[in-house]
C-alpha cells in the first residue's frame, strides 16, 4: 500500500522472520540508512515496516530488497482490490452474460418451435426439401447460439480438460454432422438400404434448452452473492465533513482518518469513528443483528454504515475504506466463501473424472446399440449415445456445495453471524455440546447493584453514604456501588475517615455519620446485630448475589445485593440450543454456588465451576476425549486457547470486533442469541447441501443409464435427446434454487 504526501511516498511493507526487538531494530536501521528513505519504523507486533521515501531515489521494490538483505523476508504489498470493485466487475460480467444468453435463448427457442412444427405438421414436401429447411433453421443455432459450446470444448480439449461444454458439443456436434451427411449424401445412404435420418430438431432443442438452463442458472447464481451486495449497499455515498469551520459534503473516497463528520438524525454514519459531540441512538442491526438501538455519546465508538436515529453526532473518523468494520465483514465473508466444506471433497472427486467417464459411457452405449440393438441400428445407437452425453449434468454436482456455502455465509453476515468458512459451517452442524463461558457471555460481566434494602434510613441516603465511602475503595464491588449511585444521579461527598478491614468490609465517616459496610462478621465485630436481615442475605447468596450489610451510627440500616446480572437473552438462547438437542455446559472461575444459581436461572445443563483460566482448554479437551463434538462460546481474548481447541470456536464480539482470530464463528452481537442462530443456519445449510448432493448424484446415476437405454429391453423406454436436454437444464437450476432457499434461513 503506498500513499503520496507532497514529494514523499509512504509505503507499508510486511516483514517476516522477525522474532525480537533486535530484529526489528536491525531492519529499521537498514531502511533508515538507505538513500531516499526519510523515515522508517518497523513494528515487531504487526510485522510491518512503515517507510516514507522519495520515489525519485528508490521504489518499493528497492525497499523490499533492502529488507531482504538484512536476512528477513519481505514482499511488496499488493494494492487491495476494494470489495465493491470486485462485486461491480462480477455484476457487469454477469449482466453481459445474461443479456447474451437471453438473446441466444430467444433465437434458439424460436428455431426449436419452428423445427418442431416442420416435424409434426405434414408439409407434403419432399423429405430432401424438408431436411434442407431444417438444416437452414439449425445453422444459426449451431453456429451462433451454441457456438461457445464448441469453442470452449475445443479450448478445454487442448488443455486435456473437459466440462459441460464438451458433452453438449460432442453430443450435438455428432448429431449435426451425421444429419448434415444424410442431408447432403442422401443417395449414398439410400443405396446401402439406410434411411437418411436427421437430428436437426433434436440439436436445436438441446441447445435451446441448455441455453435456457444456463440463463436461469446465471440469474440464480447472481442472487447467491446478494448478501455481499446488500452489505456494500449500506454504505452512504457521501459524508458531511467539518472543514475550515463549515460543513462540506464530500464523496466517501475523500474521507480521511482524523476528519470530523457531522451525522444528522436519520443519516448513516459514513465511516468508523469516535463520537466527540452529541448524543443519539444508533441502529446497528444491519451489522450486528442486535435489534435494539444503542445509546451513543461522546467517547463512544461508532461503526460506519450504521444508522443514526434521533440526535446529531459529531464523529472523528478512525478508519476509512478497507480498514472499516464493514469492509472487514465483507472481506471475511468473501474469504469464507473461498473455503470448502469437507463434504465437497466427494463431489470434487466425482467432478474431476465425470466428463471423460461420460464420454466413455456414451461410446460404449453406441457400440452396444450398434452390435445388439434393434434396427435401425445406427439411428438408435447415435440417438442413445447423444442422449447420454446430453443428460449427464456435471454442473449440478459442481454447484451443490459452493452455492449453499455462499448463500449461508452471506445470510449469516446479514444477521451478525460471521462464519470463517465452509468447513466451520459443516462442523457447526455436527455439534453435541456447547460450552459457554459465564462471565461476559451468559452474564453481563460486571457486578451491579441489583437491590437496595433500606430499614433504618431512606434508600437514597443509604446509597449516597455508602457510595461516598466506597469511592475510596479499590474493591470490584465498590465500583458497582459507585456506578449505581452515579446512575441515579446521586451526588457523592468526600469521606472524613476511611478504614479497610481486609476480607470483611470498610468503615468511615461521611457527613458526620459513621458508616460500616461489609459482611455479617464485620457487623458483629462492631457490635451491630445483623439478625434482622440475615435471612434476606442468605436468600440473596443462594441466588448467586453477594449481600453487603450497611450500618449507620452503630445500628443496622440496610442491605445491598450485588450480582453479575444474567443477560436478558441468555435463557431464551439456551432454550433454543436445547431444542437443537445440544447439551449446554457452563465454564467459570466463579464459586460453585454462584455458578449453579446462574445455571438454574438459565436452564444450563452442567456447570464446571472454579476453573482457572488456563484450565479451560483442558476441560474442552476432556469433553472431546469423551467423543463429543464441542463448541466453545466466549470472548475472543481471554478464551482464545479454549476457542481454538474447540471443534467450533464461537467468539462473541462487542459489535466492532470483526477479526477475532480464534473464533471459527464471530458473533457481532455481544450476547448468546447469535449462537442458536449460527447453529440453526449451519444445520439448515448442511441439510440443503446434502439434498443438493443427493439430487446431483441420483440424477446422474439414474438418468445416464436410462438415457443409455437400460430400460429399453424390459419397458421399451428410450429417452430422446430433447427430453435429456430439458432434464439436464432443470437439474442444475434446481440445485441453485434449493441453495437460494437459505436466503430466508
Amino acid at each position: 500500500m503506498t500513499a503520496t504526501t507532497d514529494q514523499l511516498e509512504h509505503c507499508d511493507i510486511p516483514v517476516t522472520g522477525m522474532t525480537c526487538a533486535a530484529c526489528s531494530a536491525r531492519v529499521q536501521r537498514a531502511l533508515e540508512r538507505t538513500p531516499g528513505v526519510s523515515a522508517a519504523t518497523v513494528n515487531l507486533m504487526t510485522n510491518q515496516a512503515t517507510v516514507d521515501f522519495d520515489p525519485g531515489a528508490i521504489d518499493p521494490v528497492g525497499l523490499v530488497e533492502v529488507i531482504r538483505d538484512t536476512g528477513y523476508g519481505a514482499e511488496i504489498p499488493r494494492a487491495e482490490v476494494a470489495p465493491e470493485d470486485l462485486v461491480a466487475a462480477q455484476d457487469e460480467t454477469r449482466a453481459e452474460e445474461i443479456t447474451t444468453l437471453g438473446r441466444k435463448v430467444v433465437v434458439s427457442g424460436v428455431a426449436a418451435v419452428v423445427a418442431m412444427g416442420f416435424m409434426v405438421i405434414p408439409s407434403g414436401w419432399d423429405m430432401r426439401i424438408t431436411n434442407l429447411i431444417l438444416l437452414g433453421i439449425s445453422l444459426p443455432v449451431v453456429f451462433w447460439a451454441g457456438r461457445h459450446f464448441y469453442t470452449r470444448a475445443w479450448a478445454g480439449f487442448r488443455h486435456h480438460s473437459a466440462d459441460m461444454s464438451t458433452l453438449i458439443a460432442v453430443g450435438t456436434g455428432a448429431a449435426f454432422i451425421f444429419s448434415l451427411a444424410t442431408t447432403l449424401a442422401a443417395e449414398w445412404f439410400a443405396a446401402r438400404g439406410l434411411e437418411p435420418h436427421v437430428y436437426y430438431e433434436a440439436v436445436v432443442w438441446v441447445i435451446a434448452l441448455v441455453l435456457l438452463g444456463n440463463l436461469l442458472e446465471a440469474k440464480a447464481k447472481g442472487r447467491t452473492s446478494q448478501a455481499i451486495r446488500k452489505l456494500l449497499g449500506l454504505r452512504p455515498r457521501t459524508a458531511r465533513v467539518v472543514r475550515d469551520g463549515g460543513e462540506v459534503e464530500v464523496p466517501l473516497s475523500d474521507l480521511a482518518v482524523g476528519d470530523v463528520v457531522v451525522v444528522r438524525p436519520g443519516e448513516k454514519i459514513p465511516a468508523d469513528g469516535t463520537v466527540i459531540e452529541g448524543r443519539s441512538n444508533v441502529d446497528e442491526s444491519m451489522l450486528t443483528g442486535e435489534p435494539l438501538p444503542v445509546d451513543k455519546e461522546a467517547g463512544d465508538s461508532v461503526v460506519g454504515a450504521t444508522l443514526n436515529r434521533n440526535g446529531a453526532l459529531k464523529v472523528r473518523v478512525t478508519a476509512t475504506g478497507a480498514a472499516t468494520v464493514l469492509s472487514q465483514i465483507v472481506r471475511l465473508v468473501q474469504q469464507a466463501q473461498g473455503t470448502k466444506a469437507p463434504i465437497q471433497h466427494l463431489a470434487d472427486r466425482v467432478s474431476a473424472v465425470f466428463v471423460p467417464v461420460i464420454l466413455c459411457i456414451a461410446i460404449a452405449t453406441f457400440v452396444i446399440w450398434f452390435d445388439i440393438g434393434p434396427g435401425p441400428w445406427y439411428v438408435h445407437a447415435l440417438a442413445a449415445a447423444v442422449t447420454v452425453l446430453v443428460i449427464a449434468c456435471p454442473c449440478a454436482m459442481g454447484l451443490a456445495v459452493p452455492t449453499a456455502v455462499m448463500v449461508a455465509t452471506g445470510r449469516g453476515a446479514e444477521r451478525g453471524v460471521l462464519f470463517k468458512g465452509g468447513d466451520v459451517l459443516q462442523r457447526a452442524s455436527e455439534l453435541d455440546v456447547v460450552v459457554v463461558d459465564k462471565t461476559g457471555t451468559v452474564t453481563e460481566g460486571r457486578p451491579t447493584v441489583t437491590e437496595v434494602i433500606a430499614i433504618a434510613a431512606d434508600r437514597a441516603t443509604i446509597l449516597r453514604l455508602v457510595a461516598s465511602l466506597e469511592r475510596r475503595s479499590e474493591h470490584p464491588l465498590a465500583e458497582a456501588i459507585v456506578d449505581a449511585a452515579a446512575r441515579e444521579g446521586i451526588e457523592l461527598r468526600e469521606p472524613d475517615r476511611f478504614e479497610v478491614f481486609a476480607g470483611q468490609g470498610v468503615l468511615g465517616l461521611v457527613e458526620g455519620r459513621e458508616v460500616v459496610i461489609g459482611n455479617s462478621g464485620l457487623m458483629r465485630a462492631r457490635n451491630i446485630d445483623p439478625a434482622p436481615l440475615i435471612d434476606r442475605a442468605d436468600a440473596l447468596a443462594a441466588g448467586g448475589a453477594t449481600a453487603v450489610f450497611v450500618a449507620l451510627d452503630g445500628s443496622l440500616a440496610g442491605l445491598l445485593a450485588i450480582a453479575d446480572p444474567i443477560k436478558d437473552s441468555s435463557a431464551a438462547a439456551i432454550e433454543r440450543l436445547h431444542r437443537l438437542g445440544l447439551e449446554i455446559v457452563m465454564l467459570t472461575g466463579d464459586a460453585r454456588r454462584t455458578a449453579e444459581s446462574v445455571a438454574r436461572a438459565t436452564g444450563i445443563d452442567r456447570v464446571i465451576a472454579e476453573v482457572l483460566p488456563d484450565e479451560k482448554l483442558a476441560v474442552i479437551r476432556r469433553l472431546q476425549q469423551d467423543g463429543k463434538v464441542v463448541a466453545m462460546v466466549g470472548d475472543g481474548l481471554n478464551d482464545a486457547p479454549a476457542l481454538a481447541q474447540a471443534d467450533v470456536g464461537i467468539a462473541i464480539g462487542t459489535g466492532t470486533d470483526v477479526a477475532i482470530e480464534a473464533g471459527g464463528v464471530t458473533l457481532m452481537r455481544g450476547d448468546l442469541a447469535g449462537v442458536p442462530q449460527a447453529l440453526e443456519l449451519a444445520r439448515r445449510t448442511l441439510r440443503v447441501i446434502r439434498q443438493n448432493l443427493f439430487w446431483a448424484f441420483i440424477y446422474n446415476v439414474i438418468g445416464v443409464p436410462i438415457a443409455a437405454g437400460v430400460l429399453y429391453p424390459v419397458f421399451g423406454l428410450l429417452l430422446t435427446p430433447t427430453i435429456a436436454g430439458a432434464a439436464m437444464a432443470a437439474s442444475s437450476v434446481s440445485v441453485v434454487s434449493n441453495s437460494l432457499r437459505l436466503r430466508t434461513a
Binding site: V61, E96, T100, H148, H159, E217, F370
Partner: protein, 134 residues
C-alpha cells in the same frame, strides 16, 4: 458379428482407451515461475476451457503471483479456487487477475475452477531452476 460390428466394437474400445489416456494420463504443459526483481515468482496462466499452463512449479517460501487471464465469459471458469491457500477469487472476463500468496510448505497443491471441473496443479519445491518460462 458382422465386419462392421467388429470395426465399431474395436473402434469404440480404442476410443475409450484414448479418452482415458488423453484426459487422465497424458502429460500436461507445465511452466516454472519466473523469479522477479522483488523476489516475486510470477506465472501467467490463460483461462480458456482449462488452465494453460496447467502445472506451475514454484519455490517454497517466496511470494508467488499467479496472473490468471480469463479469455472468455464462460461462467464455468469465472472463479479459481486454491483451497490450500484459502483463496477463492472471481476472475473478471477478458481481464488479468493477479493472485498473490506465499507457499510455506512444499508439495503438490491443486487449483480448480469454482465448480471443481477444470484443474491445475501448483508444485511447490524447495529449490527450482530459475530459468523457467511462462
Amino acid at each position: 458379428m458382422t465386419a462392421s460390428q467388429w470395426v465399431v466394437t474395436l473402434g469404440g474400445a480404442g476410443a475409450i482407451a484414448w479418452v482415458i489416456y488423453y484426459f487422465f494420463l497424458a502429460a500436461r504443459a507445465g511452466a516454472t515461475a519466473r523469479l522477479g526483481a522483488a523476489g516475486i515468482q510470477r506465472v501467467a496462466i490463460e483461462v480458456l476451457g482449462g488452465y494453460a499452463p496447467s502445472t506451475v512449479t514454484v519455490r517454497r517460501g517466496l511470494p508467488v503471483e499467479l496472473e490468471f487471464h480469463r479469455a472468455d465469459s464462460d461462467s464455468c471458469t469465472e472463479e479459481v479456487v486454491l483451497e490450500d491457500f484459502g483463496i477463492r477469487q472471481y476472475l473478471p472476463a477478458y481481464q488479468t487477475t493477479a493472485i498473490q500468496f506465499t507457499p510455506t510448505e512444499s508439495g503438490t497443491f491443486a487449483f480448480s475452477c469454482g465448480m471443481g471441473m477444470v484443474h491445475g496443479r501448483l508444485v511447490v519445491q524447495d529449490e527450482v531452476s530459475n530459468d523457467g518460462h511462462n
